[in-house]
Amino acid sequence: MVATAVAIARMRSLFATVMLAGVFSLLSALLFVNLDAVDVAFTEAAVGAGISTVLMLGTLALTSRVERPSSRSPVIPLFVVIATGAMLIYGTLDMPNFGSPDAPAQLHVAPDYFYGTEKDIKLPNVVTAILASYRGFDTLGETAVVFTAGIGVLLLISGLRTRRRRDEDEEEDET
């Protein structure tokens, strides 16, 4: 996966970049299965490898295919990135070991959710129970975000005719 990411960073052809991004998504879906998050893996495979690749290809068809070489030097971004990464790694030093059952994250609310799902809601899939019932407000918010994004895309590029005509007029004025 690191290899895919680095290849994306170096690749100039945007078409190959988008395809590699799809590969990256699929690999991360496999990783999610390994980490016991089957629901997440499901979503990632459907969304990342499916829809987002289609959308990016759609954008490429509307824009251009090849990236121009950047004139800026990569030294400063590289420095920023390494500094940030070093700080984040320093932050992980205090974290419990990977997969340890007595980490703080496992002890706080998760046992309550397990208990409640078994006794009160009586549904086998704990993820769904938490998603829709215990954290229903969150999910309502997320749905609203998807709603807003859909409306936003609609406003931006669905081509309201009056607006496009006005834009064309403006372009003619400038030239």
Partner: protein, 147 residues
């Protein structure tokens, strides 16, 4: 409009209903196995998108017109929020599914989760298909040969 390969068209024609069916399974079986509204919405949208890619936008919009999809986006959020409002009407707090059937809270929870997930699925389907229609509806800048 470029005609795609025959095999591609036939396979997509057979596959699209199967994808939608699988999406519905994921939607309503989300309580028992991995899945739920978000995944189902994306999968159902993928069926329409693949149909649109192979047969062209016009054909896809004959199956599912743009204005219907726009209504779907809002309908999903309304179903979700409406479930919450209903439980408020029944004298419980917002989105407390016990209010859906006070005599049997567990059943209420089941129904509530199903309804809410359905709302999520409808919104996600609507949003994804809308986004695809919006992108595909633009005249392309680079010709097919350039790919």
């Amino acid at each position: 409009m470029m005609q795609h390969h025959l095999i591609l068209r036939v396979v997509v024609k057979i596959l699209a209903p199967a994808i939608i069916l699988f999406g519905l399974y994921v939607q309503f079986h989300g309580d028992y196995s991995p899945g739920g509204g978000f995944q189902a919405g994306v999968i159902i949208a993928a069926a329409f998108i693949i149909y649109g890619i192979v047969f062209g936008l016009k054909q896809a919009q004959q199956v599912l017109p743009g204005w219907v999809v726009h209504k779907l986006i809002a309908l999903g959020v309304l179903i979700y929020a409406g479930t919450g409002i209903y439980s408020m009407m029944a004298g419980y707090t917002f989105l407390d599914y016990d209010g859906l059937s006070p005599a049997y809270p567990t059943g209420g929870q089941h129904n509530g989760i199903l309804l809410v997930e359905f709302g999520v699925g409808v919104t996600v389907t609507g949003a994804m298909v809308t986004i695809y229609y919006a992108f595909a509806g633009r005249p392309p800048r680079i010709s097919d040969e350039e790919w």
